[in-house]
């Protein structure tokens, strides 16, 4: 076993809030060894980021380190004067952050921002610094580094910015790299690139990485050892393989159970009841006891210690484990089960979108002449069946949200049809459209932006009913609202409250109730769980699923998360740069992807279980204002041929409801048509 590089002993960090001191980190011990990647996992608010910031003494103004020691090769960082600490930051311990678009200074060139680390921590000067900066950009895989050093952050895409952050962090060859959710703001294909890069650099430089993440898939991909944080404490640490084979703490187990997977399709996801406790409270027993199904009296009276499990390096904070290790998790690498509800394919089509286009003009010049079009949606056709879920999948910027909004005429379609209930919503005049709005509703991604903070929940729910004339009178609406709240699992007193009194998951329930209030037949779900933690996501997914079963609502489910598609959807359409490249049932598309982009997208998703060979996609999503000629995907496609540059390939039908737009399948079209 390699030697310990960084040791954290009994770290306690407090945040001074108006409501009292918040114990964000409360007695954390951990060890980071040379050349290892150590993952600190937990849901939002568990204290993992505060732990990282404490190590470098970079806490926000309200934060302070109350207790503890951080030993870097035996030297206590908390005992250092600030000036000496500055010599550690960036030189021995470097850090990269979640949001590359705000973490870089917008008015300095990227070269300058890398150079200042070199100048600060190495004897290099002048031209040598510039050369080194270029080398660094090269080494993090930024093409055309000589030109890029002179550019400003806003000229780079999110993935490139994160590479610049990494280059700056590595400039002084630190021994430890702290990466705080380094890929959370990035798309899955870009995430795969960045994770590759980190793994490669770590191997080359024998650097230790403290990886902070909420994504178990990333842990599985990157880490050698894992620690799980909950409510300011570490509840479990283990080697990666042990952790994934048999998570010991009930919370860790629940995290796995809450993940949507294809195997759980038929049923409900396991959820964690309740919420993370307030960290300004005093705890007597186990912090997870309130939410733990296995809790017994002792859990509430006595706080458990981290105890070492026999026969391994794992340690866990749970009374139950005194009786021995937990059993292995049910391995779940079985193939996709055949859809028991295949009959659903014969349900009538509820909404049919035909060749929908949404173009936004680019205006320039004094007279705001239109000089081009951003083809956000460029000829999308799809069909949603009654009571079924169609998932629309793609990376950010591919136009999937625009499709959803254009279907509801929240954005004006430029061309195409939206056939719904015998009318074309895309061309209906505003007055007639209003009468049809009842049938189609929407749920948004950000539960904090989707509810007016100035309206009581009752007014939120009543707004649509009043506007669209649902319910006979106010008393009828009151009765309906009570029923709605029960349907989404909220107590009746919710009505008199304001949105800010609720957590993200509860807000999303309110948003769902608002949509249900007008009894729609179709709900467009625009990434409704991507702002939520895994355990809360499970609750919302369960709710959506049971609502569909009970009320027969159809969903157009817009997401970038493949595992949700596997769990929830019946059919799927994959979008790339404003067009659908492949569609079919979930079993067909996810089990046997045909389009090279679908294959790559699927392979890039980090998996909790099992290994998957990843198809590396080079480059990034091109601009929809100026899409590549021919097949939009060809510049990134590993299977591209010169022919791909000619024309955009027509959709090829591969059986009932299944189609793909790729020249590779032209021959099969010929077969199927003959």
């Amino acid at each position: 076993m390699s030697e310990v590089l960084l040791q954290v002993l009994d770290l306690r960090t407090q945040l001074d809030m108006p409501a009292g001191a918040l114990r964000a980190v409360d007695g954390v011990d951990l060890e980071l060894r040379q050349a290892e990647c150590f993952a600190l996992v937990g849901e939002s608010g568990c204290g993992k980021s505060m732990t990282a910031l404490s190590l470098l003494r970079l806490l926000p103004e309200a934060g302070r380190i109350a207790e503890g020691r951080v030993l870097l090769e035996g030297q206590d960082l908390f005992a250092l004067p600030e000036a000496a600490m500055r010599a550690v930051r960036g030189r021995r311990v470097a850090m990269i952050f979640q949001e590359p678009s705000t973490a870089l200074n917008p008015v300095l060139t990227v070269g300058r921002q890398i150079a200042e680390v070199i100048e600060r921590h190495t004897p290099l000067a002048g031209e040598a610094v510039r050369r080194r900066a270029r080398e660094l950009l090269d080494s993090v895989g930024i093409p055309d580094a000589a030109r890029r050093v002179e550019e400003y952050p806003f000229q780079l895409s999110g993935g490139l910015k994160q590479r610049v952050m990494i280059a700056a962090a590595l400039a002084a060859e630190p021994e430890v790299l702290i990466a705080d959710e380094p890929t959370t703001a990035l798309d899955v294909t870009i995430q795969a690139q960045i994770l590759d890069l980190l793994a490669k650099l770590q191997a080359e430089r024998r650097m230790a990485i403290l990886l902070i993440t909420h994504d178990l898939g990333i842990v599985a991909r990157m880490a050698q050892r894992v620690a799980v944080m909950y409510a300011g404490e570490i509840v479990e640490t283990a080697a990666r393989s042990d952790f994934f084979r048999a998570p010991q703490h009930p919370y860790s187990q629940k995290l796995f159970d809450a993940l949507p997977t294809p195997q759980k399709r038929g049923g409900q996801l396991s959820v964690i009841a309740g919420q993370v406790p307030q960290l300004n409270a005093q705890f007597r027993g186990c912090r997870f006891a309130e939410r733990c199904e296995l809790a017994f009296q002792r859990c509430r009276d006595e706080a458990p210690q981290l105890i070492a499990l026999p026969g391994g390096a794992a340690r866990v904070r749970c009374h139950l484990r005194e009786q021995g290790a937990a059993p292995e998790r049910r391995a779940a690498a079985a193939p996709l089960p055949a859809d028991a509800q295949a009959a659903g394919a014969s349900e009538p089509v509820l909404a049919e979108v035909e060749d929908l286009k949404v173009h936004f003009p680019i205006r320039k010049g004094l007279l705001k002449r239109t000089v081009g079009q951003v083809k956000a949606v460029d000829g999308v056709s799809l069909a949603v069946r009654a009571g079924r879920t169609l998932a629309l999948v793609g990376e950010s910027g591919c136009g999937k949200t625009t499709v959803g909004k254009a279907m509801l005429r929240l954005l004006p379609p430029s061309a195409g049809k939206v056939a719904f209930d015998g009318a074309d919503l895309a061309s209906l005049p505003r007055s007639e459209l209003r009468a049809r709005r009842r049938a189609m509703q929407i749920i948004f991604q950000d539960p904090y932006a989707s509810l007016n903070p100035r309206m009581r929940v009752a007014d939120v729910l009543a707004e649509g009913m009043r506007s669209l004339g649902v319910g006979r009178d106010e008393t009828d609406r009151q009765r309906r609202m009570a029923a709605l709240l029960e349907q989404v699992g909220l107590p009746p007193e919710t009505l008199a409250r304001y949105p800010h009194e609720f957590s993200g998951g509860q807000r999303q329930r309110i948003a769902i109730a608002r949509a249900l209030a007008v009894e729609p037949k179709l709900i467009v779900c625009d990434e409704p769980t991507s702002a939520l933690d895994v355990s809360v996501q499970a609750q919302i997914l369960n709710l959506l699923k049971s609502l569909q079963e009970r009320l027969g609502i159809a969903y157009l489910f817009i997401t970038h998360n493949i595992s949700i598609v596997e769990f929830l959807a019946h059919e799927v359409a994959v979008m790339y740069l404003g067009r659908i490249v492949e569609r079919g049932t979930v079993e067909e598309v996810l089990g046997d992807p045909k389009h090279p982009y679908t294959e790559a997208l699927l392979s890039a998703v980090p998996m909790v279980d099992g290994e998957r060979s990843i198809i590396r996609l080079s480059g990034e999503l091109p601009s929809p204002a100026n899409p590549p000629a021919g097949c939009h995907f060809h510049p990134r496609c590993p299977k591209a041929t010169p022919e791909c540059r000619q024309d955009y390939p027509q959709a090829v039908a591969l059986g009932r409801g299944r189609s793909v737009s790729c020249i590779l399948y032209r021959s099969s079209k010929a077969e199927s048509s003959s």
Partner: protein
């Protein structure tokens, strides 16, 4: 006979509007909570007490009447003076009517300058003549310091008595109703205020506490009279500023397109004209109107009042651009938010979206802008009146006081009290307003830059 001026109506309208806004705030947690944060600040509570004093004086000065003239014939219908007075004038009758001949220093018993005095025996000497009113009650002028000390002590005793009464009465009710407010800060501010007001009141009964000006009028009286003008300018301006700023700002931000272009064009154009020049030109035009239409203004008070209101309107018409720009920006952001989209998905009308979704979410900006603009307007009045494009020269205001006194510093002996009085009163008012505004900004939204 009650004789309300146009500005009186507007002042009381504003009081009513503020009262209903306060009620509205108390019913809406999203407004009640920031106000609670504001009144958690000790500085805000203390300055609120000071502001309450100024507002009280200003409101007293906003009830005008025309006194009935003593009837020569009891049978004749009552005849009213053309002079318009206010309740404040009534309360300060002694200060108002006891005119000296010219300058006298604070608490003086004699004029500032020597004059030829006829002796009873027929000879005359040059000496400082006794004041007609100030210190007249003193038998021997040597008793002056003793009398002053006595009055101060009595004033302090009175202040202490009033203070104890208020604190005792207030502690129970207020502290129970709003336990989070630092009432001790209010008590301290009140104590300081009373400790000044008590002795001043006792002294004012016998002396000119702040001296007299060139025409022998009491400076304390002038300073107190100036308060209403400052408050009116600082608040009534909002009656013009608010509707313009809100309407232009949120419709431009919400509807975008040509409406936005038009609003932006108008406010860039207005903004381009240097504020003082625009105000000066407009006031000059108003003055031309007043001078050429004397028939519209039967009393001088009405003429002055018209000029005051015009000044408010002009200041409001110049100042709304700032609010409109802020609201436009915020509305642009809000209009992108999902809850607005959700409202569109329900087919909610534009008017309803503007009133139910946009307006409540920009209220904090409106409140902050108004509170922050108050002190600027008070300061602007002084400068504009100094240039001669402020209030009517016959109106007593801080600006006209300073204008009248600007050459007095060069006199020998120096006359400093008019300026000092204007300075102290203005400083207290503006400082209190600034501190309060700071707390309001912190309570509502510290990120808003106005």
């Amino acid at each position: 006979m009650l004789f309300p001026l146009a500005s009186d109506y507007l002042v009381w309208l504003l009081v009513a509007a503020l009262a209903s806004f306060a009620y509205y705030c108390s019913r809406n947690p999203h407004l009640a909570a920031p106000w609670a944060r504001v009144f958690r600040s000790r500085a805000a509570v203390a300055s609120a007490v000071v502001l309450a004093f100024f507002v009280g004086v200003g409101l007293l000065d906003s009830v005008h009447y025309r006194p009935r003239l003593p009837a020569t014939d009891p049978a004749a219908p009552p005849v009213y003076s053309v002079e318009v007075r206010s309740l404040l004038d009534l309360a300060l009758t002694r200060l108002r009517t006891r005119l000296e001949i010219t300058y006298s220093a604070p608490l003086a018993t004699r004029l500032l300058q020597k004059e030829r005095i006829e002796r009873p025996d027929g000879t005359s000497v040059r000496d400082y003549p006794r004041l007609r009113f100030g210190g007249q009650h003193l038998k021997d002028e040597a008793d002056l310091s003793q009398d002053v000390a006595l009055r101060i002590v009595a004033g302090l005793a009175l202040a202490a008595a009033v203070w104890s009464l208020v604190v005792l009465a207030g502690r129970r009710t207020l502290a129970r109703r709003w336990p989070f407010v630092p009432w001790d800060a209010a008590a301290i501010a009140l104590a300081a205020l009373l400790a000044l007001a008590g002795p001043v009141a006792m002294l004012a009964a016998g002396y000119h506490v702040l001296g007299t000006n060139q025409v022998g009028s009491d400076v304390l009286y002038q300073a107190l009279k100036s308060i209403r003008i400052s408050l009116v300018i600082g608040t009534l301006t909002t009656l013009v500023l608010l509707p313009l700023g809100i309407a232009a700002g949120i419709t431009a931000g919400y509807f975008k397109g040509w409406l936005d272009d038009a609003v932006q064009y108008v406010y860039t154009t207005l903004n381009s004209i240097p504020g003082v020049l625009l105000i000066a030109a407009s006031v000059l035009m108003v003055q031309v109107y007043i001078d050429t239409h004397p028939e519209l203004f039967p009393t001088s008070a009405q003429r002055a009042d018209f000029r005051l209101l015009s000044l408010c309107a002009i200041l409001g018409a110049v100042d709304w651009t700032g609010l409109a720009r802020l609201l436009r920006g915020e509305t642009l952001k809000l209009a992108q938010l999902d809850y607005i989209e959700a409202a569109h998905a329900f087919g909610v009308s534009h008017v309803r979206i503007l009133t139910r979704h946009i307006l409540p979410n920009v209220t904090h900006i409106v409140v902050i802008t108004l509170v922050l603009s108050f002190s600027g307007l008070v300061l602007a009045e002084a400068v504009l009146s100094y240039i001669g494009v402020g209030v009517d020269p016959s109106t007593i205001s801080f600006g006209t006081m300073i204008n009248a006194a600007r050459l007095e510093m060069a006199r020998e002996p120096m006359v400093w009290w008019s300026l000092a009085a204007a300075f102290v009163f203005m400083f207290a008012l503006v400082l209190a307003a600034n501190l309060f505004a700071d707390a309001v900004r912190d309570g509502f939204d510290p990120r808003v830059r106005v």
